[in-house]
Structures are given as C-alpha cells and as structure tokens.
C-alpha cells in the first residue's frame, strides 16, 4: 500500500493546540497571548545586514557548521554573556533554528531503546524529537511547589537515574521558571552520578529577569557531558530567519555535523549575515527588548494576582503560568476564554506532565493588548467563578 506511514510518525499525536487555532480563526477580535515568539521585529541593523548580503549576491551555501566569522562571534558572545568557553573550530555548530540543533542531538545520541528523560512541562518538540530518533521518553514532572524547577527528588521519583539523556529548558517555556546556580548544582551532581548526558536548551537565556542566567555547562564536571542550545529567535527577535546553534564537546558537535551536512547542508546564509550583525551591534536593542518584557512580566503577574488567579513569580522567557480556578481544567478555561472573550492562551497540559491545571500566557505582546486581554480574562473570571 502506498504511504504506509512509519510507526514513529504515527506514534506522535497531532499538536494539542490545533483545535484552538481553528476556534481562534472564527473570530476577528482575538488578542493572542498564545504566541511563542517576540512581537518585536528583528533589530534593524541585523535586517539591514541581511538585505546588504542579498544585494551583494551572498546567497551560496556556507561551511556546514556555519560561517567561521559567525562561529567566532558566537564563541565571544557566550563567553562574555554566560562564561561558556567553546572553540569555534569544532565545538560550535550553526543550525536552522535551535530546533534543528536539538533534533540533531537526539539523532546523534539516541539509539533505539535509549531513554531520554525530559523535565516537563516543556517545549513541545522534545518528545516527538526523541520518538523520531527511536528513543523512549521518560517524563520528569516538575511542580508549582518547586516553582517548576527541576529537583533531584523529581528525577528520582521518575526513575531518571536509569535514563541515558536528560533534557532541560531553563528559562522555561511554558512556565517562565528559571534555575539558579544553587538549584542547578544538585541536578548536575545527579547527572554526573548517573552518567547522564545533558541537553540544555537555553534559547531564553538572555530573557532572565532579576539576575543573570547560569548555564548548567558551567558547573563542575558538566562541560564534558552537556550540549547547550541557543539561537537568535528569542533575544534577537529573529524567529523567521531560522538560526540557532549548539555548543558542546567536539565529539558531540562532530556527530551532529555529520547529520547536518547530509540533511541541511548549512543554515540559511542570509540569516547568518543578519546574525553576525546582531552580535556585533544590537546589544542595546536586546537590552531594550528585555526591559520591555520585564515590565510586561510584572504587569501581567500583578494583574493575575488582582484577578485572583494563583500565579508563581515567573522570572524568565516571556511566559507566565497561572493556575486555573478550582473546578476547571486548563482546556475548559482556555476554550471558554477564547470563545467568550476572544483571548488566546494555551492550556498547560499541552506541554506535558506537570502542566495540567495551568495556562501558558505569553507577554510577547504590546502593553495595550496585554491590558485589554487581562481585562477580558477578569470579566470571564467574574462571570464564571
């Protein structure tokens, strides 16, 4: 029979937000707090550099790992920003978004039957990525009691000591949780003790408020067992340009590059030109965007407290993760507030274990829309709760 779909593809259920997308399409006054990307446009200098590169006809492939110049800039950038030390020659690979880098890591490291522990709730692509690579997923639920940080207790309870890989994403999508150095230490110890390879998705690293981001790879004995993922989508508002990167020991990066060179060849060239400029001259714009997100974050958290929905102090990314009122499921609440008030939020269970009973609320939206959306949510709560 034609198109006898692979088991791997059939195993993965369709996206949980598809249905909501269709409801949202029926209304023309929807304010979306369901968006996982910045509302800012890419800083103009970076766009201008992309345009200039096109005008100059720079549209050929680049080196598989990305332009050398860009890898050198990335090495300096992560050294200055996060104290990460990687050699541009063979410890950095530039990819079509951090998503590609995560997929490469799964395919480079996962054998059929290998177990990949994933701290959840988290970005929705890890689980399918593991399944596509032939691995087994082990959910490690985090909880509001721990402000959605990953604890050794949670790892032990889930049986992660038996896993081969551990995936974590802090600052976290969807909760907005961050993990301090002190909170990462025991996780690092657990990884060393049980010989876990760590995949640390740090795409929101720059969007850390009230303090600076700590990468787990900077902790003792972790560099040699960690791959760090970052990119230009979030902090530099470049989602559509599709550009990310992975940092890790040469053994891992070379293996990822082997897949990348056959399947992707090289990351988008125009985007690489934009990225070089973004690192060269857009720090001020990034700082300004971070300042804006921080104000919105505080605004949204304040409003949820006023409305009476329980919300923990999210300190990173551009999400907060309020609880739905008693007697509601996240899905019921999200559908209700969309149908009646035209506000789009994502039910937390879409993001895996630990997300049920919560809503992912993105504040990557201008303050006027945020104000209106929160007023509408308040109306909905007043009418129904």
């Amino acid at each position: 029979m034609p198109f006898d779909l692979s088991d791997r593809v059939q195993t993965v259920p369709p996206s949980g937000i598809r249905r909501f997308f269709e409801i949202a399409e029926e209304r023309d006054d929807v304010i979306s707090l369901g968006v996982g990307e910045p509302d800012f446009a890419t800083p103009w200098a970076a766009r201008d550099a992309a345009i200039a590169s096109l005008e100059a006809g720079k549209t050929s492939y680049t080196a598989n790992r990305g332009k050398r110049e860009l890898r050198e800039r990335i090495a300096d950038y992560v050294a200055d920003g996060f104290g990460l030390d990687y050699d541009p020659a063979d410890e950095i690979i530039v990819t079509a978004g951090a998503s590609e880098a995560v997929d490469l890591a799964f395919r480079a490291l996962v054998d059929p039957g290998d177990t990949v522990a994933i701290a959840q709730p988290s970005y929705i692509s890890y689980e399918p990525g593991v399944i596509f690579a032939g691995g087994e997923v082990l959910s490690v639920p985090t909880s509001k009691a721990d402000e959605f940080t990953l604890t050794v207790e949670a790892l032990e309870a889930a049986g992660a000591d038996e896993a081969d890989l551990l995936v974590l994403c802090y600052p976290n999508n969807p909760t907005g949780a961050v993990m301090s150095k002190a909170e990462l230490e025991p996780v690092a110890e657990f990884a060393r003790e049980h010989d876990l390879t760590v995949l640390s998705d740090e795409i929101y690293a720059e969007l850390t408020y009230n303090g600076s981001h700590t990468s787990i790879a900077t902790l003792e004995g972790m560099r040699e067992r960690t791959i760090v993922f970052n990119g230009f989508s979030k902090a530099h508002a470049m989602t559509g340009l599709r550009l990310g990167y992975a940092l890790g020991p040469a053994k891992a990066i070379n293996a990822m590059n082997k897949i990348h060179q056959y399947t992707m060849l090289s990351a988008p060239t125009t985007a690489q030109h934009a990225a070089i400029e973004a690192l060269d001259s857009c720090d001020e714009e990034v700082r300004e965007m971070v300042a804006q997100y921080d104000r919105r974050r505080q605004f949204v958290l304040s409003r949820f407290r006023e409305i009476g929905l329980d919300v923990f102090e999210a300190k990173g990314a551009f999400y907060c993760f309020p609880e739905v009122p008693d007697g509601w499921t996240a899905e019921e609440f999200a559908e209700g507030v969309l149908r009646e008030e035209g506000v789009a939020v994502v039910p937390g269970d879409v993001f895996g274990a630990g997300g049920e009973g919560h809503l992912r609320v993105s504040y990557a939206t201008g303050l006027n829309d945020l104000r209106e959306a929160l007023d509408r949510i308040e109306t909905f709560v007043e009418e129904h709760v």
């Binding site: 997308f21 369901g34 968006v35 509302d39 505080q298």
Partner: protein, 161 residues
C-alpha cells in the same frame, strides 16, 4: 532610581496610569504618584503632549525649521536672544546648536503666509539676528521616536509553541 524608571515609562507613554506603572515596576501606586510629583516639581518633566501626525488631519498645519545666525555683543548673550524668541507662541522649539548656524528654531502656524510673516516681521527684525534660513516641513516620517508609517503588521500566528 525609581524616579528614573518612572521617567522612562512616561517617556514611552505619558498616558500610562499610575496604577499601570505600579504594576510594571516594584513600586506602589502612591510611590509612583510621588515620583511623578517630584519629577514635575524638580522641573525634569516639563509637560505632556500628544505626538500628532498632521498629515492625517484635514486642516492644514504648517511647520518650519528655521536656522538662525546671530551676532552677540557685550550686553547680549545667546540666552537673552533665546528668551526673547521663545516667548512667541509660534515658536514650538528652540535650541542652540553647534555648526554653521546658531539657533535651530521650530515654528508652527496655520498657513505658509502666517509662518512667513512671523519670520519676516517678528524674527528677522531682531537686531542681533543676522540671517534666517527657513525650511518648510514637507512630510514627517518620525516624531519623538514614533514612526509615522503604517507600522509593521503583526502577522504572527495566534498560537505557536
């Protein structure tokens, strides 16, 4: 420090309510109100105005940038001349600048005739003013940091992971 934060927010949008500014910062509403009072009392915040795109209005509004050269003498300094010019309601902005001319003056009126008359009858005759060069504004693309284009439409999908 909190005043600085309030100032930044007012500069972004002077119509933010004190309640909204409090929500966006670590401040209480009464602290925000006090910070604004202090900024006004200290003369840091001198006023609040709308940023208007006159091209979107039916009525004509004529604006001009005027370069002024002046000659100083023992009794008359830049401040004296500026004070005299700034009193005219037609003058919306007046700055001493470096370069080929001394003052950069912005003037507004209801017609070219009105603005021209103002310059020839009220400004040029000031004894210290030696030269005026008037540039009428044809189109404004950006004012006070706000772009006047159609903006960049938000074409993001309503739900993305």
């Amino acid at each position: 420090m909190s005043e600085r934060e309030v100032l930044e927010l007012l500069r972004e949008n002077a119509r933010y309510s004190t309640a909204d500014i409090a929500r966006m910062t670590d401040l209480e509403e009464d602290e925000v109100a006090a910070a604004i009072d202090n900024l006004e009392a200290a003369g840091v915040v001198r006023g609040y105005q709308a940023v208007i795109d006159w091209d979107e209005l039916e009525e004509e509004r004529v604006r001009a940038e005027v370069e002024l050269n002046v000659r100083l003498d023992r009794e008359t300094g830049y401040d004296d001349i500026a004070e005299r010019l700034a009193r005219f309601p037609e003058v919306t902005a007046l700055r001493l600048v470096s370069g080929d001319y001394d003052f950069d003056m912005e003037v507004e009126g209801d017609s070219i005739r009105e603005v021209s008359q103002f310059i020839s009858e009220k400004v040029a005759p000031v004894p210290e003013i030696t030269q005026t060069v008037t540039h009428y504004v044809m189109t404004s693309y950006k004012e006070n940091g706000i772009e006047f284009g159609d903006g960049e439409e938000d074409d993001r999908l309503s739900y993305t992971p």
